[in-house]
């Protein structure tokens, strides 16, 4: 139950995290692309403006006079002329790289940032400038090795005098794109909050939708035996899966109840209907047995017949008792009694049986009375069952010990033997109806028993609000332990139809 809720929540969270990550990456990537494009465009516009401005200015200067003087040796820059116009002062302040070349492609001016360029870079610039014909050209070139490529714009100056050939402006696109970075920061800050909130919400939702299942499990747990089998699950309103599940479970419960009732009724009816014929049989046999005129050779077989009738009556009575117990109707008539007296009675029988089989009977009874509210005939039946079994499965020379203790308002009866024991795999079945252990326990020639004895014992113990347990080691012996509460249970055990 809890695990389904947890699994659902974990699945939600994983799905949501994946969604957020994919969405975030896509958004970031797209945003970065567009930022770059934007920066590129801005750069191009800037270059165009700068170029245009510089050309206008140079053209204006050229109309007034020469702008270039032949000055030998501008050092390594391979120039023999120098820009002498006022434009020079203006160009000195330019942030971007600006190159002015004469008609022959010789550089007559290089703006300050470009003066630190390597010769290779200048060669590259000149190579571009020398391309013929000089028209508007855009492109990329590498000026600083290892850094982002520069965007450039090459335009002819078109001066009247012909001293100036072209101008080239170049700039690096900005590497700092603020937009995507900010987006990333926001996402990293916000995503955990969203995840936490949705996990909590998911947990709550899962719990809410699973609550009817919880309720159903509780209701089903309450249906344990024949007495509660008439109960049904509350069907949630609506036509959803849960309400259909509840309906199907209820339908199944109805079928289980029907077959359970049919079986119980059959057992009860059959046992009941068997009683009268058994009574009649017994009456006839008993009459013949007690009739002094019955020849002796018939008495033996009549006696065996009576014994069989008794066994059958016992079986029928036990079946009926258990069938009623399943209905919750076979109540007990409780009266306070000293358990020691009942144990004493059973001890005599045990001792008689033991004498016959060569089994020693030991007992350990307290000196103080052990007063327990009991249905004496039932407890007597339980004791005789356990004792008879114990003697039966203990070989000559063995021992059967019967103990009684009283501790903390709990009376504990033990019947221990040193007999053949019960295989570990069989232990859990010994209290089942009609269960028989391996053939060793029902050797031919032995009284087969009804197979209900221990089932009845279990019912008797439990109907008193007590327990019965068995421990055994094959070849070493078996201990049956019965506990009975010494206080009257709160729910009345005596049932009545009134």
């Amino acid at each position: 139950m809890q695990s389904i809720r947890r699994r659902l929540t974990i699945s939600y969270t994983i799905a949501l995290t994946a969604t957020i990550v994919v969405f975030g990456v896509a958004l970031y990537w797209e945003r970065r692309q567009s930022s770059e494009r934007e920066a590129e465009q801005q750069l191009e516009v800037r270059l165009a403006e700068e170029s245009h401005f510089a050309i206008r200015w140079l053209q204006a200067q050229a109309r007034r006079g020469p702008v270039v003087v032949g000055l030998p040796n501008l050092g390594q820059r391979d120039s023999t002329y120098e820009l002498v116009s006022d434009a020079r002062g203006l160009f000195e302040g330019m942030r971007d790289y600006l190159f002015v070349a004469d008609d022959f492609g010789r550089l007559v001016y290089v703006s300050p940032p470009a003066r630190d360029l390597t010769p290779q870079a200048l060669v590259e610039v000149r190579r571009i400038i020398l391309r013929q014909p000089v028209v508007d050209q855009r492109g990329q070139l590498e000026l600083l090795p290892g850094e982002a490529r520069f965007r450039f714009l090459l335009q002819p100056v078109g001066s009247v005098s012909g001293e100036l050939g072209s101008i080239l402006v170049a700039a690096q696109p900005s590497t700092e794109l603020n937009g995507p970075a900010q987006l990333l920061v926001s996402m990293i800050l916000v995503a955990p909050l969203i995840l936490l909130a949705s996990t909590l919400l998911g947990y709550w939702l899962a719990g809410r939708s699973l609550r009817p299942v919880d309720t159903m499990v509780e209701e089903l747990e309450a249906i344990q035996d024949g007495r509660s089998l008439h109960r049904r699950l509350a069907v949630p309103t609506g036509e959803d899966e849960l309400s259909r599940l509840a309906q199907k479970l209820n339908a199944m419960l109805s079928r289980v109840e029907q077959s359970f009732n049919a079986l119980r009724r059959f057992t009860a009816d059959a046992s009941h209907e068997l009683k009268t014929p058994l009574m009649v049989l017994r009456a006839g046999v008993e009459r013949s047995l007690t009739d002094p005129q019955t020849p002796n050779d018939l008495v033996g077989s009549l006696d065996e017949t009576l014994r069989q009738i008794n066994q059958m009556s016992e079986l029928v009575t036990n079946l009926l008792t258990l069938a009623r117990a399943d209905e919750g109707r076979a109540g007990l008539v409780l009266a306070e009694a000293d358990l020691r007296n009942l144990v004493h009675e059973a001890l005599e029988t045990a001792e008689l049986l033991g004498t016959e089989q060569g089994v020693d009977i030991l007992s350990d009874l307290p000196t103080e009375p052990v007063v327990v509210p009991i249905d004496a005939p039932r407890i007597r039946q339980l004791l005789l069952n356990l004792v008879t079994n114990a003697v039966k499965y203990t070989g000559s020379g063995g021992q059967v010990s019967i103990g009684l203790r009283s501790e903390a308002a709990l009376a504990t009866l033990t019947v221990a033997d040193t007999g053949i024991g019960i295989a570990p795999g069989d232990l859990e079945h010994v209290f089942e109806r009609f269960w028989r252990a391996d053939p060793a326990r029902s050797r031919t020639g032995d009284r087969p028993g009804t197979g209900l004895g221990l089932a009845i014992c279990k019912w008797v113990a439990e109907a008193h609000g007590g327990t019965i347990e068995v421990q055994s080691r094959p070849g070493r012996g078996t201990i049956f332990t019965v506990t009975l509460p010494q206080v009257v249970p709160e729910t009345p055990l005596v049932t009545s139809t009134e």
Binding site: M279, E286, N310, V494, S496, T497
Partner: protein, 222 residues
């Protein structure tokens, strides 16, 4: 002592009637409730044995009607239903005791005896055979005036045999009486009891009273 048996099953009815007559009771047997009420109101009976399951008027209805009419005779109920509630219902409706079917006849006799608070027709409160005496009230056994200590089961077995002197009683009948007809240990536990009884009752005397009839059972006779 006059008894009224109300039982619709002919075999059971006849069996009870004949068995009671053998014990020197006077028994009338009717098969339905209305007839039972008619008889009980018009003639005197010392006790009624009433089956709970009757055609027409049920046993419970007969019980209630009888008590409503002021009939005070003890009523012993026969029931095939061993659910406690049936017994409780019957006792509430005015029954004095119940016997669950199938029952041993001795059990029925014991209940009748207890209810009528009188010794059984021909039995006194003491049984005697030769110099062996059995006091039913004190549950005491004497031979030749000397008290013999018996365990409860030994006493019951001896009592049963003494109730039927000269009659061979089978092992199953003895077991039923001393324990319960539900109890069947699967061994001849009765033999063990008889052996002990012999030691206590017969060993010191020349005249043996407890006898074995091979393959049949046991008998006490002088």
């Amino acid at each position: 002592m006059k008894l009224l048996v109300v039982e619709d099953d002919k075999t059971v009815g006849q069996y009870v009637k004949r068995g009671l007559e053998e014990q020197q009771y006077i028994a009338d047997w009717v098969e339905n409730g209305s007839e039972a009420l008619k008889l009980a109101s018009s003639a005197h009976y010392d006790l009624m044995i009433l089956d709970l399951r009757l055609p027409g008027m049920t046993g419970l209805e007969v019980l209630r009607t009888a008590r409503d009419r002021g009939l005070t005779l003890p009523i012993l109920v026969l029931t095939a239903q061993d659910g406690v509630e049936f017994k409780v219902d019957a006792l509430r409706a005015g029954a004095d005791d119940y016997v669950t079917k199938p029952f041993a006849f001795e059990e029925l006799l014991a209940r009748i005896e207890a209810l009528s608070r009188r010794p059984r027709a021909l039995s006194s409160r003491a049984l005697q055979l030769a110099d062996l005496e059995l006091d039913l009230d004190a549950r005491e056994v004497r031979r030749n005036g000397t008290v013999i200590e018996l365990t409860p089961k030994e006493y019951l077995v001896l009592e049963y045999l003494m109730r039927h002197p000269g009659r061979v009683m089978s092992r199953t009948l003895i077991t039923e009486y001393a324990w319960d007809y539900h109890f069947d240990p699967g061994t001849n536990i009765v033999d063990v009891v008889i052996n002990r009884l012999r030691k206590k009752v017969d060993a010191d005397f020349a005249q043996k009273l407890v006898h074995t009839v091979r393959g049949v059972g046991y008998v006490v006779k002088g």
